[in-house]
Symmetry: C2
Subunit: 395 residues, 2 copies
Amino acid sequence: MDYTFSKGMASLKPSVIREILKNSGNTIPLSAGNPAPDAFPVDDVRELAAKILADDPILALQYGVTEGYAPLIEELTKLAKERYGVGSGNDAVIVVSGAQQIMNLMSQVFINYGDTVITEEPAFIGALNCFRGFGAKLVGVPLEKDGMDTDILEEKLKTEKNARFIYTIPNFQNPGGITTSLEKRHKIYDIAKKYGVIILEDNPYGDLRVSGEDVPAIKSFDTDGIVVYSGSFSKIISPGIRVGFTVAPKEVIAKMTVAKQTQDVHTTMLSQLIVYNWLKDGKLAGHVEKIRAIYRRKLNLMCDMMDEYLLDYLDYHRPEGGLFVWAKLKDGINMLDFVRKASANGVSVVPGNAFLTDMSAPCDYIRLNFSTPSDEGIIEGIKLLAKTAQEMKGQ
Amino acid sequence: MDYTFSKGMASLKPSVIREILKNSGNTIPLSAGNPAPDAFPVDDVRELAAKILADDPILALQYGVTEGYAPLIEELTKLAKERYGVGSGNDAVIVVSGAQQIMNLMSQVFINYGDTVITEEPAFIGALNCFRGFGAKLVGVPLEKDGMDTDILEEKLKTEKNARFIYTIPNFQNPGGITTSLEKRHKIYDIAKKYGVIILEDNPYGDLRVSGEDVPAIKSFDTDGIVVYSGSFSKIISPGIRVGFTVAPKEVIAKMTVAKQTQDVHTTMLSQLIVYNWLKDGKLAGHVEKIRAIYRRKLNLMCDMMDEYLLDYLDYHRPEGGLFVWAKLKDGINMLDFVRKASANGVSVVPGNAFLTDMSAPCDYIRLNFSTPSDEGIIEGIKLLAKTAQEMKGQ
């Protein structure tokens, strides 16, 4: 049978990164985005799972409500306000099955086929693919050192009459590593307000700061009900448990809840109960300090190695946190050739075009990840990248 | 701010049932669809969770691949073939976050706004709402005692040029309680093939047969790659863990996998590992026998009570399994009044119009559930329904 797929999905391909990961076999994985295994609170999760399944197994195994386990929503509302400064009386909070689900709920709730979504350029591929799947026209706004180019953002909003929302990761952006300055956060907010467009503020890495000072969330100055804030426990507790949350205007939350009901009914109860008990036990702050130390070590190790071995071949900006380094290959090194040869040499990185709104556009960037490989893997991986660049220069 | 929602979602309301459940407070819940709490393999889950988090916690907490944990897919492929007779060399299997996700993936993959989905009438509200959310035009085919009216099915397919798939629950349909006969399963297959339309065969209740003989799945005679089979562990192990699976033609599975990647990346790893180990330990067959005994007792208790107390006020057909009884109120009893008065009397049932493609159409039916209430609740609930009907007749 010839299958006729929906217009949005017909041309959508699997994520380039996930395909690279599948095929990267024995290479050193500087291409992934997995949290470091030693960053998981394994003992906490083990103890809590045992306690939950001993004390109230039926609660963990029965259907839950779509919005999420009510006591967890209460904890998250408090956490969002106290730790991240987000959420007002006009907002509500729901639990989602990882922050990726927020991208999908936002798409289902707001995008008609052909509508525009404004994103940073480059941007997180999981979000781009999600918007593409709903038939969105992606319009990229170049990322500068302090966040997206707000002049271009305004230009785009002047012409894109069906822009539904602006997608941004203001802290340690994936893949750019950029943190948007407070000034630009205000500018983005003001422009969005002026043009009546929602902001989707995705903050999966906010707690992974290893240097510098925290910058207030855009959602923290949302007095107009235009910001949807997305939080995640994937990088703090575990991505395998699939728990995130969103803080958004009540009317938007109501619609997202209806969409979630048709998507997975509710988020896994055991996962929700683990997160609830972990937060209630006051584990977050101490654990974040612990994993920051891990990521500080790994980020600095990678960047120090890059400074020692790679500055002849690429330029990059040392990020203040997150999981990624975004690097621009210098003239004369073809990016796709470099990625291919690096893989043959035993180290995998992600070709930068994977993160562009138009993946066929020319691109000199690669994305490197320091959370997945071991420290030895980072050292060896950077050396192999240098070897690859050397070989290419020598040709 | 005035929010402009997508065309598909703009008019979609939360599931009537889930709203009733939220508001049913202290009434006896004949309105729900929860598995009986004593049907959960609590000890197995507790032991397996402990074992998994002791032996390989990182596997349970790290990201997984979108298709699902590979050894689980292998188990499911075997299970589907050996137990349900479904799956061929042209098919593939993926793990999903509960069978509801299959409805959503099918919608995203196949439905353009305005396309038609053919469903049984009445049909599962979670599926109807999902299709509505993607802007599908719902076309209902009346359910007869042996499955949908295949003459009307063919008529509809003659005129509905953009029909994308036929949605059916052939075993103990929700809400109708009907099991589609083998003859009609073949007819539905032949008609779908003739008109080049896919069948979405949803089988959440197949293992909950309490009398009569199993009927082969439609997917078991799919030599043309036109059937997507949906399986679920919600009624066998637990709905709270959110694990289902689908067996479908490889090309369809590939597209559903891309959609799932943008929806929740992958299904909760701990849930997948629990199901995997439980299946591998050979727990399924014995546990299904155990829960069949529970549901046989509860189904017969409810139907015996209905025979004793309610036959003056309604007609119904005793189902051979599943979780629901579908009953038609006799002349002179207004259905919505009855549901409202029953709730005031302390027992909740679902108004039948919730399951119609056009919820504003006249409807004399109610749906009763026997899995959620205790045995005492069933007895008391049916007596309260009789009291309600009596009061209405006496007016």
